[in-house]
């Protein structure tokens, strides 16, 4: 169905507080690296897809206008696609369908965020409606913590066990980030550090929470003919899926999270994956919060419902485990939101093409990438593989 599509180039900026560059310069930094990686010039690009978080984040709206030059858009068709935190996956999917339609052979997909320009938590509070949700959904941690509590109670998970598992996830990812030259937070933390970090919203503590980062990510997608011609090792897109659920948080069951579950199922079906834990070699799960990451493991079928902490503590998802998750350190260590979901795809593509450097999972052939957005409302998944 549709033409085959490959990731043939990826580019990322340095992340962190980037006072040294303007917003368009930051974007250009990622674009430049991706074009060099793909071995193409701006002239070769036939279409551009871009997206970020809402304009309140940086105070500039509809940035596909502002970044026209930085994104090599001039004279080209452009699509601006956005879906909150899941934007990174949504723009990748748009690029995928564009190439799959046969109307373009090379599409540039770019996500970006310069969060130190504004107030991320204030921005996210404006996602809620002004009457029912806004009064109590102060930014992201409040919402995600409620979800964590719901999940623990629903499956009778002892709080101590979940705490222990969350701490291990935090330690693992912070260690991984030390191996990732692009990562923002590079610190060595211990289990004790994670368990005793200041509380943000109980039971979530500081080291369970992602930072705010500046950064951009660019990915070049190519058709089969083009990829085979100009790329030695393309990462083939095997499946994509996106789902969204109710706007009002209280209306859906966030402990089993239908949108995450079905987005993954949709992608698995296309990729022919029946047993994800066995078949996937690595996963880049969108993990701004450690507790939430455990819910994703269950939604994606990596382990049975309510059993994530057991699997985490067994080391299943650590670097040496059966299914290493977020060898890049994930969103927990680097989070320029509009770019974060696309970084997951870029990392997954690097893993299956053996380009992940010190964070490479040996022999990875099939990888999952993912992003989440809204008030726990949206989930998008892309599967990439080394083989067509």
């Amino acid at each position: 169905m549709g033409k085959a599509v490959a990731v043939i180039g990826t580019g990322q900026t340095r992340h962190g507080r980037r006072n040294d560059v303007s917003y368009p310069e930051l974007v250009r930094e990622a674009v430049k690296v991706a074009l060099i990686d793909a071995g193409i010039t701006p002239k070769d690009i036939e279409g551009v897809v871009t997206g970020t978080m809402p304009s309140m984040m940086e105070g500039v709206s509809d940035t596909h206008f502002y970044f026209a030059d930085a994104l090599c858009e001039v004279g080209k068709p452009v699509l601006k696609v956005e879906s909150c935190g899941s934007t990174g996956q949504s723009i990748a999917h748009c690029g995928y369908y564009w190439v799959a339609s046969g109307l373009a052979d090379l599409v540039l997909v770019v996500g970006m965020e310069k969060m130190f320009e504004g107030d991320g938590q204030a921005t996210m509070t404006t996602v809620a409606d002004p009457w029912f949700m806004k009064p109590f959904s102060a930014g992201a941690p409040g919402v995600f913590t409620m979800q964590a509590m719901e999940w623990m109670h629903r499956f009778n998970i002892p709080e101590d066990q979940a705490r222990e598992a969350a701490a291990l996830i935090s330690v693992t990812h912070h260690d991984s980030a030390l191996d990732n030259p692009y990562a923002h937070i590079k610190i060595k933390v211990s289990i004790e550090d994670a368990k005793n970090a200041p509380i943000i919203t109980y039971p979530v503590r500081l080291l369970d929470v992602c930072p705010t980062s500046d950064g951009a990510c660019a990915v070049v997608l190519a058709s089969e003919e083009k990829a085979k011609k100009i790329c030695k090792k393309p990462a083939w897109i095997k499946g994509v899926g996106f789902r969204g659920e109710e706007f009002f948080l209280g209306e859906s069951n966030k402990s089993i999270w239908p949108s995450a579950t079905e987005a993954a199922q949709h992608a698995y079906q296309q990729a022919g994956i029946k047993n994800p834990l066995k078949e996937l070699d690595v996963a880049e799960v969108y993990n701004p919060f450690t507790y939430q990451e455990m819910i994703f493991y269950e939604c994606f079928g990596f382990c049975p419902r309510g059993k994530s902490p057991d699997y985490v503590l067994k080391g299943t998802f650590s670097m040496a485990g059966a299914l290493p998750c977020d060898p890049s350190g994930g969103v927990l260590c680097t989070n320029p939101i509009g770019a974060s979901g696309l970084i997951r795809l870029a990392e997954a593509a690097r893993q299956v093409t053996g380009k992940a450097g010190a964070r490479q999972v040996e022999g990875a052939k099939l990888a999952l990438s993912h992003a989440m957005g809204g008030i726990d409302q949206f989930n998008g998944v892309t599967i990439v593989g080394a083989k067509l």
């Binding site: 596909h64 001039v74 068709p77 956005e82 909150c84 799959a100 339609s101 789902r243 109710e246 809204g374």
Partner: protein
């Protein structure tokens, strides 16, 4: 390549609605599905068009729009502009992954600040914003250049407002509907010299929804499918000073769409056009760039009467954006109006001539930084 059809559509009126955003959206999306006889759960994909800035003070426009547009737990996404949504929906169908896409575009202007308070946020914070550049001031610069370069007169520009607001009298959904004279327009007060008040689009409500389907499915939903024969878009530089405001990217976008649709002589082969003209003079300029007349001849074109409702090439029989400006949705309204004319079911604003091929155009950004167009055929 697969063929994509417009099967069913619905639109809200442009005047202020008392409904809340979610109900307002739901009613229009539901109308389309009911007309098509399609269950929500059978829709392949929902494509929302809405904007973070033009969105009742809410961020992440897709979040609140999701339920009302019918996207709950089916594949879906959101684009920032409704013409982008139509194009992306076509790509999804052409990819073979989806047979049906419901495109719903959403804006409730009555809950928003003035358009230009919001378009001012397109400007970068360092150079353009301190100068007060927004969509209207940028258009005023473009208009001044247009008048001077080609000796177009202010009267000729005003005629566009006279024509379009007059056409709107016959369109029950239009927001501003009144008979005005050239003199009324010229005396309507300067907004940003040389633009007069009646030459600038209002701020309107507008939820519009279209069900697109692949060829083999289309007949299930309608007896009169309208085919999308081609589409094209292009982006210009950002800084106004880097651009040729009188020769931007519209010819590039048009070339793409014409090539896809197999159109060689647009003036002859296109029967009707619905153009996005938030500022009256832009209709004349866009007509030139689309190949409806020669360079600098936009003034002569309106003088000739060809673009009137009963002319040889009617432009904006719906009243266009001057009569109704639901910012994000305005492109999709053009597509729907063009499709209605092709089906011969536009009601009182149906043009006299037989319409086989029609063009729908959308633009956003300063002075037409981004242009998109779609060619439709009966």
């Amino acid at each position: 390549m697969r063929k994509v059809a417009i099967t069913r559509f619905a639109q809200s009126p442009g005047a202020e609605s008392r409904e809340n955003l979610m109900d307002f959206t739901y009613r229009v999306s539901k109308e389309v599905l009911d007309k098509a006889g399609l269950k929500r759960s059978e829709v392949g994909c929902v494509m929302i068009a809405s904007s973070d800035v033009f969105h009742s003070g809410l961020s992440c426009a897709n979040a609140v729009d999701w339920d009302g547009s019918g996207a709950f737990m089916i594949e879906g996404t959101r684009t920032e502009d409704s013409m982008y949504a139509v194009i992306y929906a076509c790509l999804r169908i052409l990819s073979g992954h989806f047979d049906t896409v419901l495109v719903t575009s959403i804006i409730k202007g009555s809950e928003n600040p003035d358009n230009d308070t919001l378009t001012g946020f397109f400007a970068d914070p360092f150079y353009m914003r301190p100068l007060g550049i927004n969509e209207t001031t940028a258009a005023a610069i473009q208009m001044r250049e247009y008048l001077q370069r080609y000796k177009i007169t202010e009267e000729q520009c005003a005629k566009v407002a006279v024509k379009n607001l007059g056409n709107a009298l016959f369109n029950p959904n239009a927001h501003i509907r009144k008979r005005v004279t050239v003199d009324d327009v010229l005396k309507s007060g300067t907004v940003s010299d040389p633009l007069k008040s009646l030459e600038c689009a209002p701020k309107s409500e507008g939820v519009a929804s279209v069900l697109l389907a692949a060829e083999d499915q289309a007949k299930k939903f309608t007896d009169k499918p309208v085919w999308i024969k081609g589409f094209g878009s292009s982006m210009d530089h950002f800084n106004l000073g880097d651009r040729n405001l009188l020769n931007g990217q519209l010819p590039v976008a048009a070339r793409r769409a014409y090539q896809m649709a197999g159109i060689r002589n647009p003036r002859k082969e296109i029967d009707l056009a619905e153009l996005c003209e938030p500022y009256a003079f832009q209709e004349l300029l866009w007509c030139e760039k689309l190949g409806f007349c020669g360079e600098g001849e936009g003034g002569k074109l309106i003088d000739s009467g060809a673009t009137q409702m009963n002319g040889t090439l009617p432009v904006n029989p719906s009243g266009g954006v001057l009569a109704m400006n639901p910012y994000v949705s305005r492109g999709l309204y053009r597509v729907i109006e063009a499709a209605m004319q092709i089906r011969g079911r536009a009601g009182e604003h149906q043009v006299d001539k037989k319409v086989k091929t029609a063009l729908a155009h959308g633009t956003c950004g300063f002075a037409g930084q981004s242009h998109s167009l779609v060619i439709l055929e009966g």
